[in-house]
Amino acid sequence: MSRSDVLVDADWVEAHLGDPGVVLVEVDEDTSAYDKGHIANAVKVDWKKDLQDPVRRDFIDKHGFEELMSARGISSDDLVILYGGNNNWFAAYAYWYFRLYGHANVKLLDGGRKKWELDSRDLVTQVPNRARTSYRAGDQDASLRAFRDEVVAAIGQRNLVDVRSPDEFSGKLLAPAHLPQEQAQRAGHIPTAKNVPWSKAANDDGTFKSDDDLRKLYGDEAGLDFARDTIAYCRIGERSAHTWFVLHELLGQANVKNYDGSWTEYGSLVGVPIELGAGR
């Protein structure tokens, strides 16, 4: 898989944002960002209201995803270009989510909303009117998503990549530093996990580093064994979707899963081992 199969740049988006069969989708951490201005013709997906089950802690089911896509006017064979704020955290999460439900033709805008804004490119407030479709999703692809028992069993057996900041990894902070300190019952990380903060994979403007730099980062520096299967996690699975994208989509690693339960689940489990400190 090459970079152009999974990424587009801002110039490409400007040239193609009106093309039939291309749908821009903004997914933000701050879900009001879209309303203040978005790329022309982009529709909004709310990572929480639209993608999470409102009652259980889980994703919406296949039928729910079909209904969401249909209502947004997205067809199963459309090329979906995802972008969002915060270095594409939630856009990468949505990318992984679209893949989970079998959407084949999906790409990320490299750099996301931040690069677009730092380039002073146009944003509009007009919401596009897209005709309803009859979207057909696949069953969830179990090869992409890790659950807690699998994660506990992977300790010492597979690559575990903790993509949170060093202070969350060591147990100093429980959550990213722009959010209140709350969530998991205990701080720390899963034993044997390597700490490779997601941010190391990105340039200041939010674009991904080169394949060579990324391979060096995860291989030479972090000591990840590329021959082993890998599970990435963070706090709720959005930053680790960014790392999943790097390992699985950019570097072409097979068998990489995202653990979306992540630290908010693991750090609240009774009886599981937890490691503190900078790791080994």
């Binding site: 701050d30 955290w89 900041s165 060093p166 202070d167 902070l173 722009h178 959010l179 209140p180 959005e238």
Partner: protein
């Protein structure tokens, strides 16, 4: 904290100013250019080792807020046309450290 977001959702519309009675180590501030708030830009928080910790888009008043931990931190602001500014601060639990950062935009 009122209306603390659950999950990783940022507060709608960016930061809101409340009193720091929570015991958190808060670093907040505003970014201006020529005296006017910078509305398009990003504030990122780096730890003592210069590692990225968090980043937020600036609010409408050019504001940002981080919930840090006691220690030394650097706030770096990125804005269009290559504008950058950074400042190193210390944070303490139950204390709000307030910054006023100015940038020059070409």
């Amino acid at each position: 904290m009122s209306a603390a977001p659950d999950g990783c959702g940022a507060p709608p519309g960016g930061v809101a100013v409340t009193e720091n009675s929570s015991g958190e180590a808060i670093i907040e501030g505003t970014v201006t250019s020529g005296g006017a708030p910078v509305q398009v830009g990003y504030a990122r928080l780096l730890n003592d080792d210069g590692e990225f910790v968090a980043e937020v888009p600036l609010g409408e008043n050019g504001g940002f807020r981080f919930f840090a931990a006691p220690g030394n931190w650097t706030v770096r602001v990125l804005a269009p046309r290559g504008a950058r500014v950074e400042e190193t601060v210390s944070a303490d639990r139950g204390h709000t450290t307030t910054l006023a950062l100015g940038i020059t935009q070409a």
